[in-house]
């Protein structure tokens, strides 16, 4: 079930996608900064982008979202958002990041808000070319095997499309006139393109045994050196596709009776993250918070990293802390 879409037909294909939800896709914001925004005009679509600043997690775990309408006497009434969205042009690393988020937000105590949005969102992946910050081959996330509905691999003037779900299959059925069966020659081209892409990666990180290496390197000077230059701003958390800490807060309206319960992204690099009532802080210093973040990224659970090698934390760090470089230093001496 591999299909082929000519680039000339992309606009018509997007027209069909709109039947399935509001299409959001990477658009150039400024310079090299791309964002997933609503695709109002297919001319602004940038399918060969490097990376968006904010990862697609923002569609599932919103930067700020209302969870409940609250009433001081009556309690909480759930706010349900059932909007349908099509995310076009998601890279393999970001799809793999969503798969990691699923493990947290769906596998145990499923989060209603996240799960509903995940079910209401169609994800169409697109192949990419690495830049000097990408290291997804090291984190085993350079190729998406699941977590998408369709995946488009760019081959010259066309896309080879993989179908990842029943919903994806429905889109393919709707787009029958635009899609052709991929020929054996197309598949050959697809394999060639994938092999070539792998050769383009220049950044590599050895993650073999990194969990123990980090545990044993608590006293490594590299933590303090980087904590000294770190602004503690939390940008790395905001741009990370697998960072998912949140905080909740209640806001009352002026009537002091009704209000909303809101959740918003939080950051483990901020001082109040480890604070408990009474003033005790379990991670009082920046170096402890930095160490914690690197450890958290290198372990979701015993069997999985919590990093997909997208390079965002390095690209957007205002202090130029290089994620891979820090881990290499810890690992090498």
């Amino acid at each position: 079930m591999y299909k082929k879409l000519l680039k000339d037909d992309l606009e018509n294909f997007i027209f069909i996608l709109k039947k399935f939800g509001v299409v959001h896709a990477p658009v150039r914001e400024a310079g090299r900064v791309y964002e997933f925004t609503e695709l109002t005009d297919s001319k602004i679509l940038q399918l060969n982008y490097t990376r968006t600043m904010i990862p697609p997690k923002k569609f599932f775990l919103k930067p700020k979202e209302q969870l409940y309408i609250l009433n001081r006497r009556e309690g909480f009434k759930e706010i349900v958002d059932d909007s349908k969205i099509v995310l076009l042009g998601v890279h393999a690393c970001d799809i793999n990041a969503l798969n990691l988020l699923d493990r947290i937000y769906i596998d145990q105590f499923p989060d209603r808000y996240y799960k509903t949005r995940r079910e209401n969102t169609i994800i169409i992946g697109v192949s990419c070319k690495p830049d000097e910050y990408c290291f997804c081959t090291s984190t085993n996330s350079s190729y998406a095997l699941e977590g998408f509905d369709l995946f488009m691999h760019e081959i010259d003037d066309s896309y080879i499309i993989r179908i990842g779900s029943l919903k994806g299959f429905q889109i393919v059925c709707e787009s029958e006139n635009l899609l052709a069966e991929a020929s054996s020659n197309d598949i050959k081209e697809f394999k060639r393109a994938e092999a070539e892409r792998l050769k383009e990666f220049t950044l590599h990180l050895n993650v073999n045994g990194i969990q123990d290496i980090l545990d044993a390197s608590y006293d490594h000077p590299v933590w303090q050196e980087n904590a000294d230059i770190c602004f503690g701003c939390g940008s790395c958390n905001l741009v990370c596709p697998t960072c998912r800490c949140y905080d909740t807060a209640d806001f009352l309206n002026l009537d002091l009776k009704t209000g909303v319960r809101v959740r918003r992204w939080d950051s483990c690099m901020l001082k109040q993250h480890g604070l408990v009532a009474g003033g005790l802080n379990f991670r009082p210093t920046r170096v402890e918070r930095l160490y914690n973040r690197f450890n958290c990224k290198m372990s979701l659970s015993e069997d999985s990293l919590n990093c997909v090698g997208c390079g965002r934390c390095t690209v957007y760090c205002p202090a130029d802390i290089n994620f891979v470089e820090v881990l290499k230093q810890v690992g090498e001496d």
Binding site: R112, D215, G259, C296, S301
Partner: protein
């Protein structure tokens, strides 16, 4: 079909409030929705997320063993925004709760063993649920020794209940020991005069030093201010307790209780633990493996 939303708080009525100290109150709660009551079960050591709408939510450990369906007790110190708001509530007012969360104490595993419960200050609250459970199923457990460290008599929680145990615990095969810090505390001094082997001035570790405790067939359970753990653990390991014989319950800023919000993550990458769902009860062995847990 509506899927249950784990973040949705359930309404509970405050059926009684007891002032325990100047900063701590005991709240008796009862869930109002009869449909939920039947499904609501909790174990010693589990905690709830307690909401005051418009103010926020805070994690609070349950301080009793479940007897009546849908009822529970919370011992709450006013220390933050939410707990201050809870302290303003009266009998008949409503609170919203969700949970119970966390693993709780392994009451089954500890059956047929002696229990050594060591608490400092507010740390007695979760341990009281262990004590109550063991008393409720008294024949399933051996000797229960409680070591409770307080600053002074007026800061002692569950005072009447514990003084009764202090005096008459032997009938139930319970040894209740008290340590107090304040030198000028006459009431505690009187207790010390009454039973000098059961009430002493000093920190809770003083009680361990003075008592003849052996690790044979015993589980130790600790809860107190973070600084307390390492001293208590040291005393216990010196007396031959193995790291898996020591249980402790931990505090963090658990915002969600369901392993999502990330605030209670601790440890380095070869052992990442969520205090809310992997804990809050851990063994000392977990603490040895997990950096920063203790």
């Amino acid at each position: 079909m509506t899927v249950k939303n784990p973040l949705t708080p359930m309404e509970a009525e405050i059926i009684r409030v007891e002032e325990m100290t100047s900063i701590e109150k005991l709240f008796y709660l009862k869930l109002t929705d009869p449909q939920i009551i039947g499904e609501f079960h909790y174990n010693p050591g589990q905690f709830l997320e307690v909401s005051v709408p418009g103010v926020g939510e805070a994690p609070i450990s349950i301080c009793d063993a479940q007897r009546e369906p849908g009822q529970l007790q919370l011992c709450i110190r006013k220390v933050g925004r939410v707990t201050n708001a809870i302290h303003r509530l009266k009998e008949g007012d409503r609170l919203w709760i969700r949970g119970p969360y966390g693993n709780g104490f392994p009451m089954k595993l500890m059956e047929n063993h002696n229990l050594l419960l060591i608490a400092g200050g507010l740390g007695i609250a979760p341990l009281r649920s262990v004590l109550q459970h063991a008393l409720l199923y008294r024949t399933n457990y051996g000797l229960i020794t409680v070591m409770y460290g307080v600053r002074c008599y007026s800061m002692m929680l569950f005072r009447e209940e514990f003084i009764r145990l202090f005096r008459e615990g032997d009938k139930l095969n319970v040894k209740f020991l008290l340590a107090y810090e304040d030198e000028s505390d006459t009431k505690c001094y009187q207790l010390a005069c009454e039973r000098s082997d059961r009430c002493m001035r000093g920190l809770v570790t003083r009680l361990i030093e003075a008592a003849t405790i052996t690790p044979d067939n015993t589980y130790a359970v600790i809860c107190g201010p973070p600084v307390m753990y390492k001293f208590v653990v040291r005393e216990l390991t010196q007396r031959g307790f193995t790291p898996t014989q020591i249980y402790m319950t931990m505090e963090r800023r658990m915002k969600c209780g369901v392993g999502k919000c990330g605030h209670c993550i601790t440890g380095s990458s070869n052992s990442i633990k969520y205090v809310c769902k992997d804990g809050p009860v851990f063994t000392y062995w977990d603490a040895l493996k997990t950096k920063g847990l203790m």
